[in-house]
């Protein structure tokens, strides 16, 4: 067997005694800048400076995280005039969240869409919806090319139509995570794909990578009236977002990590939405997967969603 030609490698650089990491250099530079600015009497936005030299969420020590959460709470409380709490609840060991949606029951009332907006502090104007309800013809079955998200009937369900709500499918093999150039989005151990809004650079690669249209970009500062803010927030979930970052459904991380059902499950008037632990053999999700006609959306893409559609009837 012929061996492949080996290119001559340059000799490794000898380690220098005083090498600075990129981060340290940036910090030093900024301090120098800040010192100059302070001397010259310019007002320096300390917050912006802190935000610029921050660490990745997963590299924070517990003390740093606590400090960061406290800063955020202070900032949001000032901004919205109510006591906003920001927590970073860790995932529960032995839990993998799964979601099931009964297509034969959904009537397309869009109650879930607006419950989600209220719960997760989405922008009211310009409008951001994490859930899109698609209306399709019973005659043609699930055909996304014939789907209509803008239906506006007097009453639903309209004759001959069925409804398919689509939101983040919390893929086990998420394309959005793969494309992120800065690792601002990742899959948590309990299966929820989360975004660190402070790390996102707004390149929108994930928006295009997601085959479900589940990611949304904040083109402007989200229009969130102070009286409509949900003060119970999560760092990786529903805390108010800045301009220029991407956001998406997190299965209501702030609720489910505390044992509650997502807001869309609780609001559904026909009980079409089911939620639970996929690893619990006695749970309702496992019952549905074992006993019902279950399918996942765009199975051929190997995204491995944990969001299961099924026909209960």
């Amino acid at each position: 067997m012929r061996s492949l030609p080996v290119l001559p490698m340059p000799a490794p650089e000898p380690p220098t005694a005083a090498r600075y990491s990129r981060r340290e250099v940036v910090v030093m530079g900024l301090f120098a800048l800040a010192a100059t600015a302070a001397e010259s009497g310019c007002a320096v936005d300390k917050r912006a400076l802190d935000a610029f030299v921050q660490q990745h969420f997963r590299d924070l020590s517990p003390e740093e995280l606590k400090q960061r959460l406290a800063q955020m709470e202070k900032r949001y409380t000032e901004e919205y005039g109510k006591n906003v709490r920001v927590s970073a609840t860790p995932p529960i060991p032995g839990v993998l969240y799964g979601y099931a949606l009964d297509l034969s029951r959904c009537i397309g009332c869009r109650k879930c869409v607006y419950a989600c907006v209220d719960e997760n502090n989405q922008s009211r104007d310009p409008q951001t919806h994490w859930i899109t309800v698609l209306e399709m013809d019973k005659e043609h079955g699930v055909d996304l090319l014939r789907a209509n998200a803008f239906y506006d009937h007097e009453t639903v369900p309209a004759p001959g139509k069925f409804y398919m709500p689509v939101q983040c499918q919390q893929c086990d093999n998420p394309p959005c995570v793969k494309v992120c150039p800065v690792e601002a989005t990742w899959r948590e151990p309990d299966g929820i794909v989360v975004i660190d809004y402070d790390w996102c650079i707004g390149c929108r690669c994930c928006v295009t990578a997601c085959p479900y249209g589940a990611r949304h970009f904040n083109w402007t500062k989200p229009g969130l009236p102070a009286d409509q803010v949900n003060p119970n927030t999560e760092y990786l979930g529903n805390r108010p977002r800045p301009r220029g970052v991407v956001e998406k459904c997190t299965f209501c991380i702030q609720r489910v990590r505390n044992g509650r059902y997502p807001a869309c499950v609780e609001i559904c008037p026909v009980g079409a939405r089911k939620f639970g632990n996929l690893l619990d053999p006695e749970g309702e999700i496992r019952y549905i997967i074992e006993n019902k006609r279950v399918f996942i959306l765009k199975e051929e893409l190997n995204t491995q969603p944990k969001f299961f559609y099924y026909y209960g009837l």
Binding site: R110, F150, V156, Y261, V265, V270, E284
Partner: protein
């Protein structure tokens, strides 16, 4: 050693089998084997192939009792916990209508033949109305409870047992959490809604409702 032996066998075989077709074929096989065994690598391959081939054979030769029981669970799923009582929301009575015994006395004379009522006109039965009427579910003697088809009484808080007489699979799904909505905690205590909390027992089909506003089209977002 074995290599020499097989070669020797081949030679002998080719001489002896020229008469019959069958023997000729076997000698060809022997020649092939000899060829295969010629190099160390091919010998190794043969040993691996024989080993792999022998593995399933060994499994097949095992007595049936020792067969792995990994399919047993598929045949007999573990029994699901079916509780006698479920934590349900209070029954959705119309205002000021319960207890029924405030108007109906157990000593009242009851006309048990299906007929049109002069009271409760607001109730329109759209639930197998051709075959059923009030007293098929409501108890004629104790008005504050219901009764099953065999006459056993059922409380309003356990009305799912009554519904399950006809809607068996639905009751099963409801018990498992597939049918209907459960509130509370996904990991802990849950509250079930009674069948009647969502479906009016007298007219169970869901009524159409007005949908909330459609999303703003992207081209209109400013």
């Amino acid at each position: 050693m074995s290599l020499h032996k097989s070669r020797h066998l081949t030679g002998r075989g080719s001489h002896a089998t020229s008469s019959t077709c069958r023997l000729h074929a076997s000698s060809e096989v022997a020649t092939r084997i000899a060829d295969i065994l010629h190099t160390p690598r091919s010998r190794f391959r043969l040993v691996v192939a024989l080993g792999c081939g022998a593995l399933p054979l060994q499994t097949a030769c095992r007595p049936v009792e020792e067969a792995p029981s990994r399919y047993a669970s598929a045949q007999e799923p573990p029994p699901r916990v079916v509780r006698a009582q479920y934590p349900v929301a209070p029954p959705p009575f119309s205002e000021d209508i319960f207890p029924c015994s405030e108007c109906h006395s157990p000593t009242d004379k009851v006309n048990r033949t299906p007929h049109k009522l002069e009271f409760h006109e607001e109730i329109v039965l759209r639930h197998d109305e051709k075959n059923r009427w009030c007293l098929d579910c409501h108890d004629a003697v104790n008005r504050d409870q219901l009764h099953l088809a065999d006459g056993r009484p059922v409380k309003f808080t356990e009305s799912y047992r009554l519904c399950g007489q006809c809607h068996g699979p639905t009751l099963r799904n409801w018990q498992a959490g597939e049918h209907g909505k459960r509130t509370g905690s996904w990991s802990g205590d849950k509250q079930y809604l009674l069948c009647a909390s969502c479906h009016s027992p007298h007219s169970p089909r869901f009524k159409p409702m007005k949908p909330l506003a459609p999303p703003v089209r992207q081209e209109h977002i400013r």
